[in-house]
C-alpha cells in the first residue's frame, strides 16, 4: 500500500508541476523582436494583465528586461537601417512597426489618484521609441515617393514629401504636449522628458534641416513660459535658440 501511495503522490506532483506555467510570455531570449513579437507583446501588456497587477517596470529587476526589450530601438533599426534590404520591404516593415507603436502608447497611461503617472519612465521610453522610429519611417516613405515619381524634382513630388515632413514635425509636437502635464511626472520623470526633447528634436532637425519649424518654435516658446521645471525649460530654450539661429541665417 505504501508503494501505491508513493506512486499516486508522485503522479499528483507531476500533474501540479506540469500545470504551472509562466503567466505572461515574452520572447526574452530572442535577440531582436520583429513586428509579430511587438504585436503579441503589446497585446499581452494591454490586455493580459489584471487591473491591479504591476506592469513590467524599469525599477523592477524581474520585469525590467521586458520593458527594455520593448523599447529597444535596435529592434526596428536592424531592419530599417539595412540598406541591403529593399526599400519597399523596409517601408512596409516601418509602417507595421509604426502601427504597433501606436498600440504601445496605450500601455503605460495609468495614473494614481493624484494624477501622477504610475509608469512615467516606461511611458516616456515608449514615446522615445516612437520618436526614433518615426524619423526612419517618414524618411523611408519619402524615399519611396521620390523613387516612384517620374520626376523627383516636380512640384507635386516636393509637395507630398514636404507634407509628410510637416506631419512628422506635428507628430513630434505631440511629445511636447506632455509638458502640459508636467505635474503628473516626478522630478526624475521631468528630467527624462527634457532629455527626450534634447535628443530626439535635435535628431529631427539634423535630419530635416530645411523643414518648416515655425509651429514648433511657437509651441516651444509657449511651453517654455508655462513650464516650471528647469529640466524641461533648458532643453526647450536650447531648441528655440537653435531654430532661431537657423531662421536668422536663412533670412540673410
Amino acid at each position: 500500500m505504501k508503494t501505491i501511495n508513493q506512486f499516486l503522490l508522485s503522479l499528483l506532483a507531476l500533474i501540479v508541476l506540469s500545470c504551472g506555467s509562466d503567466k505572461h510570455d515574452f520572447p526574452l531570449d530572442k535577440r531582436y523582436w520583429d513586428v509579430k513579437d511587438y504585436d503579441n507583446a503589446a497585446r499581452e501588456l494591454r490586455f493580459g494583465y489584471e487591473k491591479d497587477e504591476q506592469l513590467p517596470m524599469f525599477d523592477n529587476p524581474e520585469s525590467r528586461i521586458i520593458v527594455e526589450k520593448l523599447t529597444d530601438h535596435q529592434n526596428y533599426k536592424v531592419v530599417l537601417d539595412d540598406d541591403e534590404l529593399g526599400l519597399k520591404y523596409r517601408n512596409n516593415i516601418a509602417e507595421k512597426f509604426f502601427e504597433e507603436w501606436k498600440g504601445m502608447t496605450k500601455i503605460y497611461l495609468a495614473r494614481d489618484r493624484k494624477d501622477q503617472y504610475l509608469y512615467e519612465k516606461e511611458l516616456l521610453a515608449v514615446r522615445h521609441f516612437g520618436l526614433g522610429l518615426q524619423i526612419k519611417y517618414f524618411d523611408l516613405g519619402n524615399q519611396q515617393i521620390i523613387k516612384n515619381s517620374d520626376d523627383p524634382n516636380s512640384s507635386e513630388t516636393k509637395r507630398v514629401v514636404n507634407s509628410n515632413i510637416k506631419t512628422l514635425v506635428n507628430n513630434y509636437l505631440n511629445y511636447l504636449d506632455q509638458i502640459n502635464n508636467e505635474e503628473s511626472f516626478t522630478a526624475s520623470g521631468q528630467k527624462i522628458l527634457g532629455q527626450g526633447i534634447e535628443k530626439y528634436f535635435n535628431e529631427l532637425i539634423d535630419h530635416y534641416p530645411d523643414a518648416d519649424y515655425t509651429g514648433l518654435v511657437n509651441k516651444a516658446e509657449l511651453l517654455l513660459k508655462k513650464s516650471k521645471s528647469t529640466d524641461i525649460q533648458q532643453p526647450l530654450q536650447k531648441l528655440i535658440t537653435r531654430l532661431d539661429a537657423k531662421q536668422s541665417s536663412k533670412s540673410y
Binding site: 506540469s18 506555467s21 520572447p27 531582436y32 509579430k36 539595412d82 541591403e84
Partner: protein, 233 residues
C-alpha cells in the same frame, strides 16, 4: 492546453488500465488484495516497458528519420540541395523564438585515417535536417541553412590544409587537427547564427556569405576529400 499538460494527459490515459486495477485492488476484500495487487504490478511493469520502448523509438526517429532516410550528401552535390532533402522529423521543438516557420541543418566533418592518406569531408545529413514545410519557397531560408554546410566544408578544407603541411605522419596529431577544426567550426556556426540572427539581419547574412565564399575559394586546393601523405625522410 499547454504541451506539457497534453503529455501528462497522454500518460494518464496510457496508465488508465493500471488505475483501473488499482481501484479494484482498493475495493477488493483483504483476501483478494494480494491477487489483484499482483495483477496491478504486472500491468505496471508491462506499461512501463511499452512506454520506455515508445520513448526510445521517438528519440531515435527525432534524431534521424529512418522512415524517410536519405544517406549523407557530400559537398560536391551542394548545388542540388533543396528543402526536399530536409527529411528530418521534429517532434519536440515546434518553433524557433516563436517562429513556426523555421528550419535547421545538420552537417558534420567526417574523417578517416588511411594507410596512404587522410579523408576529411563535410557531410550534410538529410534525415537529421528539418524544415517546417518541404515545399516552402524561401530562397533566403534555404540559403542561410545551406551556408551552414559551406561553413562545415570550410573547416574541413582548413583541416586538410593543416594536415598537408605535416612533414611526418603522426596520427594523434592528425586527430588533434581534425578535433580542433570541428571545435572551431562549431564556434563559427554559432557566431554565424548569432550575427545573422538566423538570416533576419540581412546585411550580416550577406557579409557572411561573401566572407565564406571567398575563404572557400582561397582553399580551393583542398577541395578533394583525400589528403595523401608525402612524407619526407
Amino acid at each position: 492546453m499547454s504541451e506539457s499538460q497534453i503529455v501528462v494527459l497522454i500518460v494518464l490515459l496510457f496508465y488508465s488500465p493500471v488505475f483501473y486495477h488499482l481501484v479494484l485492488a482498493i475495493k477488493e476484500d483483504r483476501e483478494g488484495v494480494r491477487k489483484v495487487l499482483k495483477r496491478f504490478y504486472r500491468y505496471l511493469k508491462i506499461s512501463f516497458l511499452c512506454l520506455f520502448i515508445l520513448l526510445i523509438g521517438t528519440l531515435i526517429i527525432s534524431h534521424t528519420n529512418y522512415f524517410d532516410y536519405e544517406k549523407p550528401i557530400k559537398f560536391e552535390r551542394y548545388d542540388q540541395i533543396t528543402f526536399e532533402n530536409f527529411r528530418g522529423i521534429e517532434l519536440f521543438k515546434k518553433s524557433l523564438y516563436g517562429n513556426e516557420r523555421f528550419a535547421y541543418v545538420v552537417t558534420s566533418i567526417d574523417s578517416e585515417i588511411e594507410e596512404d592518406g587522410v579523408v576529411v569531408q563535410s557531410l550534410f545529413h538529410p534525415s537529421r535536417s528539418f524544415v517546417y514545410k518541404k515545399n516552402v519557397f524561401s530562397k533566403e531560408l534555404l540559403s542561410h541553412e545551406k551556408y551552414h554546410f559551406k561553413i562545415t566544408e570550410l573547416y574541413a578544407r582548413k583541416a586538410k590544409k593543416e594536415i598537408s603541411s605535416i612533414e611526418h605522419i603522426d596520427k594523434p596529431q592528425i586527430r588533434n587537427i581534425i578535433r580542433k577544426a570541428k571545435n572551431e567550426e562549431n564556434s563559427f556556426q554559432k557566431q554565424y547564427d548569432h550575427d545573422t540572427f538566423h538570416s533576419y539581419v540581412y546585411s550580416e547574412q550577406n557579409r557572411y556569405e561573401k566572407e565564406i565564399d571567398s575563404m572557400l575559394v582561397l582553399l580551393s586546393d583542398y577541395m578533394n576529400p583525400k589528403v595523401e601523405y608525402h612524407e619526407n625522410d
